[in-house]
């Protein structure tokens, strides 16, 4: 039986005017377990706190009930006061007799009666309280950034700037991501390479940053502050410490007909290649699927021409294991596949291209050297049709995406404008459903395309693109404002494909136990207030992995994610909330219901050997809660049919005791 002390606060007249405080302390003194009961003018004052401390010592109290203002106000104050006497701070319960009693009731008798009941409920709860200790866990002072696009780069640079080590894992041979493929950037039209490549170089040169390019995350264990990650560094068959990036090998390689991913297959590369001139790290990579030496053991030309002796055909994948305190997901996006859009003849005609392909066709470092030429015959196109919302805002399952891809309106305006600027002899049509251009200088940018560059914006959609034998593309579209169907003989059609999260995101989310929405975008901890954190503690989100974003938004979010990481890594120890879930493993069925409702991925399962009631031993799958990750919401406790899962500080029996105490009068 607990020895409970009851302390009723007057709060000056705030409580005492409506609640007969001495009647409350008198009534509660008769409750089982109560060995001391008093009332005082201001419990939260120093004198009041001393009164509590003295009573705890003098009456050897094991539990304290304070009838006062809301626990949201002074729970911490009283917990600290009690802790100073050596009693566990979680043996304190507050009965809220101010905000939820004296302030809302006028009738003194009724308010007093209610205050007594609330006091009883708190006493009933304290009877079942157990001392709780907040756990501490250390923080590994290193962050991992998954994805080396502009989001990952910016996050890494910002974290490194604060003095913490950062590793970037990038699955491509170079960092840089999608932005490396882009020509100019809206709304200022500065060249992407000019603003991106210096950052890539910064990354490479920053001694706090370690780049694992051509690598993938293989396994993630642990929790906030203490992640243990296995990274698979794929074999490049080139010793990166020796390779100077001179490019001699890529000149000599006889395998010439390999579609170049960097240019989206619009031209070819060799079996040994450097993705582009400014690649970081600038080292060659052998594509094992196409290298004759690796496939058949014949050739070896690159090794012969490499003066640095960097070629190593025997190189193997390497597994790197490292510890991290925080993980940032920056896995980015991809345009969706357009094969299903037969109506736009994407698969039939090389002159129907995606917007990203169009970027390469206009990029000085692209396959055409920056001159806009039709992929089919290399001729200059005169009529161009841009189609917006291809696969965006589409509810057809398996074909498109229900969301707006956000960036297409702006880059299409950019494409149209640049085309008209460079080639004033062209006619450019943009078919739109809505033009969405919120953002600083965005709408002005779009208006410039229309007003200064004479781009034809048509409200309507393209219904059909038919390639004609003479090379023209017959575009049939509706002009909704004119109420007519348009038929355009186009030379090129550019499709603004919807964007979707990278395919690697889903398995990664599973590894991280981070939640995703139905579109495979990572879910943020709070849509408004915690936009760069995953609900899973220690996992942060940067860039388009969380939702479609343009470059300015991505960089802003990357910085925000970095600041959250820095905030975490600054701490030496993480103090956990002691009111966390706890699984009674003897009763656990291992059914996984609790895991499914846990927003934090705090619940894992293990196969454990148990001594069963019949004295046999059995291996059973049981849940365990990571106290460092659990936030104590209690969703699991109700999902658990056997009641094996309970919440410390708000246990089933505590809540039921409160219910009983409240209902019994």
């Amino acid at each position: 039986m607990q020895r409970i002390g009851v302390f009723v606060c007057w709060c000056g007249s705030n409580i005492a005017a409506t609640v007969d405080v001495s009647a409350v302390s008198e009534a509660l003194s008769h409750e089982p377990g109560v060995v001391f009961s008093t009332n005082y003018q201001y419990m939260c004052s120093e004198a009041g706190q001393n009164l509590i401390k003295d009573a705890v010592r003098e009456h050897k109290l094991t539990g304290v009930v304070i009838c006062s203002c809301s626990p949201r106000m002074h729970e911490m104050t009283f917990r600290k006061a009690v802790a100073s006497t050596g009693l566990n701070p979680y043996m304190v319960e507050i009965a809220n007799i101010r905000e939820q009693c004296s302030w809302i009731h006028k009738d003194k008798a009724a308010a007093t009666e209610k205050a007594i009941i609330l006091g009883r409920a708190a006493i009933a709860k304290v009877h079942l309280n157990a001392p709780l200790t907040a756990g501490q866990s250390p923080v590994t002072k290193r962050a991992l950034v998954i994805g080396g696009g502009i989001a990952g780069i910016q996050t890494a640079l910002d974290i490194a700037d604060a003095g913490f080590e950062v590793d970037i894992v990038e699955k491509q041979p170079t960092i840089g991501g999608k932005m490396t493929q882009i020509d100019k950037t809206f709304p200022t039209l500065d060249c992407a390479a000019c603003i991106l490549t210096p950052k890539m170089v910064d990354c490479a040169q920053n001694e706090k940053i370690n780049i694992f390019a051509y690598s993938e995350v293989e396994e993630v264990k642990g929790f906030v502050g203490n992640f243990h990650v296995k990274i698979n560094k794929k074999a490049r068959y080139v010793d990166t410490t020796k390779c100077t990036g001179c490019g001699e090998c890529t000149e000599k390689c006889p395998m010439k007909k390999i579609p170049n991913e960097f240019n989206l297959g619009l031209d070819n590369r060799r079996a040994i290649y450097i993705p582009f001139a400014q690649a970081v790290p600038k080292v060659a990579t052998i594509d094992p699927d196409h290298c004759n030496m690796l496939k058949n053991g014949k050739c070896g030309l690159c090794a012969k021409v490499c003066s640095a002796g960097a070629i190593d055909y025997k190189q193997k994948d390497e597994t790197i294991e490292r510890e991290y305190g925080a993980i940032v997901v920056a896995t980015g996006y991809n345009p969706i596949k357009l094969d299903q859009y037969d109506e736009f003849a994407y698969s039939q005609s090389p002159d129907v291209v995606s917007s990203l392909e169009f970027e390469r066709l206009t990029n000085a470092a692209g396959p055409t050297g920056g001159t806009l030429l039709r992929p089919s015959d290399g001729k200059h196109p005169h009529t161009l049709v841009f189609v917006q919302c291809v696969g965006s805002r589409c509810s057809q399952e398996g074909k498109g995406k229900s969301y707006c891809s956000k960036i297409c309106c702006m880059y299409t305006a950019k494409h149209a404008m640049l085309t008209r600027e460079k080639y004033p002899d062209t006619e450019v049509y943009v078919f739109y459903i809505d033009v969405r251009s919120p953002g600083k200088n965005y709408d002005e940018f779009y208006r410039r395309a229309v007003e200064d560059y004479g781009v034809h914006y048509v409200k309507g959609m393209v219904g059909k693109v038919t390639p004609r034998s003479d090379g023209k593309l017959m575009v049939q579209a509706s002009d909704l404002l004119a109420g007519e169907q348009m038929h355009i003989e186009a030379d090129m059609v550019v499709l603004a494909a919807a964007i979707e999260p990278d395919k690697s995101a889903r398995p990664l989310a599973t590894m991280l136990t981070a939640s995703m929405d139905t579109n495979d975008f990572f879910t943020e901890a709070h849509a408004k207030l915690r936009p760069v954190e995953s609900p899973t503690a220690g996992i942060f989100l940067s860039g388009a992995c969380q939702g479609p974003k343009d470059i300015p938004d991505t960089v802003a979010q990357a910085g925000a994610a970095a600041s959250k990481v820095i905030g975490l890594l600054c701490k030496d120890q993480l103090t956990c909330n002691p009111c966390v879930a706890h699984a009674d493993q003897l009763m656990c069925n291992g059914c996984s219901s609790c895991e499914k409702v846990c927003p934090y991925g705090a619940i894992t399962y293990e196969d454990k050997e148990f001594r069963m009631p019949d004295r046999t031993t059995a291996i059973r799958r049981v849940a365990s809660v990571n106290e460092a990750v659990c936030q104590g919401c209690g969703a699991c406790t109700v999902a658990c049919p056997s009641g094996a899962m309970d919440l410390k500080g708000f246990s089933n029996s505590q809540i039921m005791a409160e219910v009983d105490a409240i209902c019994k009068m």
Binding site: S70, P71, R72, N96, R98, E99, Q100, C101, W103, I104, H105, K106, D107, A110, A111, E113, K114, I117, L118, A121, T523, A525, H526, A527, P535, C579, V597, P599, Q631, G632, C633, G634, A635, T637, V638, A639, L647, F650, N652, I655, M656, E658, V659, D660, I662, C663, K664, M665
Partner: protein, 145 residues
């Protein structure tokens, strides 16, 4: 049967710590009246409320039970109230199916800023339950005095 005029129902209100409990505090700060028949139990999240607690309250003599949580989408724990919503919908439907007055149970989303809504909800709920009279269909005679 007690007179409707003198009958004072016992109401248990489960409030989530982050929104509704704060909303109840705000009702107090703004001195918004509601009957003393309502007693609040603080829980971390509406998803902490087990159907067993609700039945327990009725067993022990409650005449009405109300669960308040953050508005859907605003849960401090992101998703807790979504689960609570499904659980309570099904539980209430089952109570109704068993012929137990559904008006004795209620879920209301009250944000930390909605002190007025909290008070109005409580006033309305107490009145509804008062009209229904004492809980007879889900009572435990052993707990009656």
């Amino acid at each position: 049967m007690q007179d409707v005029k003198t009958f004072r129902p016992k109401i248990v209100a489960f409030c989530c710590n982050w929104c509704s409990y704060a909303g109840a505090d705000l009702a107090g700060t703004n001195r918004l009246n509601y009957p003393a028949d309502v007693k609040i139990i603080r829980v971390p999240c509406s998803c902490r409320v087990n159907p067993m607690f609700i039945l327990r309250a009725f067993q022990r003599g409650a005449d009405g039970v109300i669960l308040c949580g953050c508005h859907p989408g605003d849960c401090h724990y992101s998703t807790g109230n979504y689960y609570a919503r499904r659980r309570m919908t099904l539980l209430f439907s089952m109570l109704d199916y068993l012929g137990i007055e559904k008006e004795r149970t209620r879920v209301e989303w009250v944000s930390a800023a909605e002190g007025a809504k909290f008070a109005a909800t409580m006033n309305e709920f107490v009145e509804t339950v008062r009209q229904l009279g004492p809980n007879k269909r889900l009572e435990d005679l052993r707990c009656k005095k």
